[in-house]
Symmetry: C2
Subunit: 448 residues, 2 copies
């Protein structure tokens, strides 16, 4: 059996590794357009700041490692240009020498990832305007920030990557301005929780321009200024465009793979596309919102990893499923942990649910134990039955614990009362006798 995989980042390499564990005889080949495989996309902000010291740390495997470890051939700088799903055949181009070739497969996994969105801003082709997606793009940013005359960073977009990079640039001693079109940071979060993050960013010396977008970039050869829609001019030695990404689904679409309404590749829980023996996984593929049983596209490393693993097992003759996600996401913004899971209030209401918002502030652990910190929790509850539908957390250490407990609670359709009943671990360094989650449940129960 021959398994071809397009793309060698999270989904592609997970797929290859699991395919090998499932089938020790298959020929497995990965075609990767870039020069790195299996890199930690989510680690790039830490690589740039130096918190993660070396490139070697974020590029976890070389093609050779992968060959030795899994007996999987990784063809770097090999771009797949065409898929023929009827003949089970793909055409690729070796970017190093321009040569073309063909590969016949029995099973194909498309893991082509996503691409940064780059609107046609005037001045976008100036030097020192970056996007962050690959290790190569991180290397370019790292080179730029090393220069003594690069001190002012302007970040376009206050999503997860935008804010992680704000921290990263501040760590490097730079002046940082974040410009966001929405009137809050982290648009998937509620305004009240985002406001806590905004306050913290300001305390950490980040300039925020909210409710305003980029109009154009100015400069000679390099970017010197970002001009916003409202006419604000922000000096910049470097600009980072992090306004979002889009599924890299063109190759698949040309091959007749069905594309969902989201623009990403439609897959079922087996990670099968509409074409026989063609799978897709990772940032180019859709997934299912488990709470609404709805196809969505939310490209995250955790999902890519699980989808890749599932596609790999199935392609290799196994039988695995990945049913979908709760849209759980987390990020570190300086000293704050900011995380969410489940439905937003707006999503719950759009489903016809009479929903209540419950917000509490609790301590991460016993107040007499060192390192006490506030944790803000915001839950969305179904008024009819008390079931928790969504949650947001903003706070200090231990915030990640609460979002994972709440994600598990939401997965299980737990009620407010059950959040009080569930027996979470208590000792002074870890929690209060009533955990923050239990307090959220108590307050919700009273309100409902």
């Amino acid at each position: 059996m021959k398994i071809a995989i397009i793309g060698a980042v999270a989904a592609g390499t997970s797929a290859a590794a699991k395919a090998r564990r499932t089938n020790k005889d298959a020929e497995i080949v990965i075609f990767e357009k870039g020069r790195d495989i299996s890199y930690a996309g989510c680690g790039l902000p830490y690589y740039i700041s130096g918190v993660t010291p070396s490139r070697y740390n974020v590029v976890m495997n070389t093609a050779q490692d992968f060959k030795e470890k899994y007996n999987v051939e990784v063809l770097l700088e090999h771009e797949v240009t065409k898929i023929n799903s009827e003949d089970k055949n793909l055409t690729y181009k070796n970017l190093k020498n321009g040569e073309e070739g063909e590969y016949k497969f029995d099973k194909l996994i498309i893991a082509t990832g996503a691409l940064p969105i780059k609107p046609p801003f005037e001045g976008l082709d100036l030097e020192n305007i970056f996007t962050l997606r690959s290790v190569e793009s991180a290397d370019k940013i790292k080179d730029a920030v090393k220069r003594d005359d690069v001190n002012q960073a302007v970040i376009i977009g206050a999503g997860l990557i935008g804010l992680e990079m704000a921290e990263s640039f501040r760590e490097l001693g730079m002046e940082v301005t974040v410009i966001e079109l929405q009137d809050q940071v982290l648009p998937p979060f509620s305004k009240e929780m985002a406001a806590i993050v905004e306050e913290h960013l300001k305390e950490k010396g980040v300039n925020l321009i909210l409710g305003d977008g980029v109009d154009h970039f100015e400069g000679q050869e390099e970017v010197e200024k970002v001009v916003t829609g409202s006419g604000k001019e922000v000096e910049a030695d470097l600009a980072l465009l992090s306004i979002g990404i889009k599924a890299n689904s063109k190759l698949a679409e040309e091959a007749g793979v069905e594309i969902g309404e989201t623009g990403a590749i439609k897959v079922n829980e087996k990670l099968e596309t509409n074409l026989k023996d063609v799978y897709s996984a990772g940032d180019c593929a859709e997934t299912t919102d488990l709470l609404r049983n709805k196809d969505i596209w939310l490209p995250l490393g955790s999902t890519a990893n699980k989808q890749g693993r599932t596609a790999g097992e199935n392609a290799a003759g196994g039988d695995a499923s990945h049913y979908g996600i709760l849209k759980t996401g987390i990020t570190k913004v300086f000293d704050l942990t900011v995380a969410r899971t489940g439905l937003t209030l707006e999503e719950a209401e759009a489903e016809g649910t009479d929903a209540a918002v419950v917000k509490i502030k609790a301590h991460n652990h016993a107040s007499y134990y060192p390192g006490t910190d506030d944790i803000h929790l915001r839950g969305i509850f179904d008024k009819e039955n008390g079931v928790i539908l969504g949650a947001e957390v903003v706070g200090g250490d231990g915030s990640d614990k609460r979002i994972d407990v709440l994600a598990t609670a939401i997965y299980n359709r737990m009620t407010a009362d059950e959040l009080f009943q569930v027996d979470l671990a208590y000792a002074p360094p870890y929690s209060g006798p009533k955990d923050a989650v239990a307090i959220l449940g108590m307050v919700a129960e009273k309100k409902l």
Copy 2:
């Protein structure tokens, strides 16, 4: 309405506060034998070591605070000597002046807590042999360890308190020996997980004598030596007896309150005893093992707090329930977090379950982000349906998160596959793309 509460620690004060919130007009009186109220029993090891700097930190309320905050009368050094449940009347003794009195109640909450077990060891009445239960007992230990000639501590019992105090005494620069009758530390834990803790204790300079108990204490006025059953002689300037506690249920029993097989007070999910209008909560009361639907006694602060709250609400005319626990427990042992929840292998097998043990080691978060640490997870799964029944965690930062997620999973009877499916939060500072819990689920699924 008059509500009397006996005991002013976790359960009693929670009950009083919730009773007041439920009923603003009731007369609420707490009778407390000791001199402190509302203290954090679980914080005492940190108070002794100085990690928690002042007595004020662990005694969170004074009787006067409580009066002002909740309009609840707290009578300190008032010991209740008799309960007459038919006449709804109790007799108390003011320990300050020896005077006796009576109090008529409409509702009574018994929260008399637990007492340290003190077997009749020879030499037990020597000076500098302590138990740790109240703030007063902590004060005595604190006074003793201040002395220049008190340098060698011997702890009898390697349970949660014993090991927390081992850390505490080491923090104070003392030599520490822990003697435990079982052949492992933390007897409720499996041997393989306990072994990791034992290794860590040794690294931290704690001497362990396992599978050996105290025979007697020797000394002139003060303890000088602990002699074990096997004849080992351990020099001691101070000994701490932490071999366990027993429910303080004698007063209740004399009043006709039903005592369960565990020796603690039998209660239902409303925290009612067999006697009308008499409730019990906290360390003197039983609770229910949710997984086996069985009365158990496992005195912990988290349960005391929830039971107290529930009893308080019901006594004051509300309607609340606390259904039981999963036996979740956690402790910090130097740099390790050690926690468990759910059934042990032995308990699962005793229930007739064909159970499998799955043990994994994973990282707490991305290996390229600073502060990576190992987390050992051990799960007990039902082979028939893949449901997780119990779990243990030993590891670094983030171990508490995993036990709380697993407790929530066990509460919901999740399967191994669901541990993989549930969408936990991933970013490099918090987790790997596949969380340790997901890995446990994956490995379990493969094994089952």
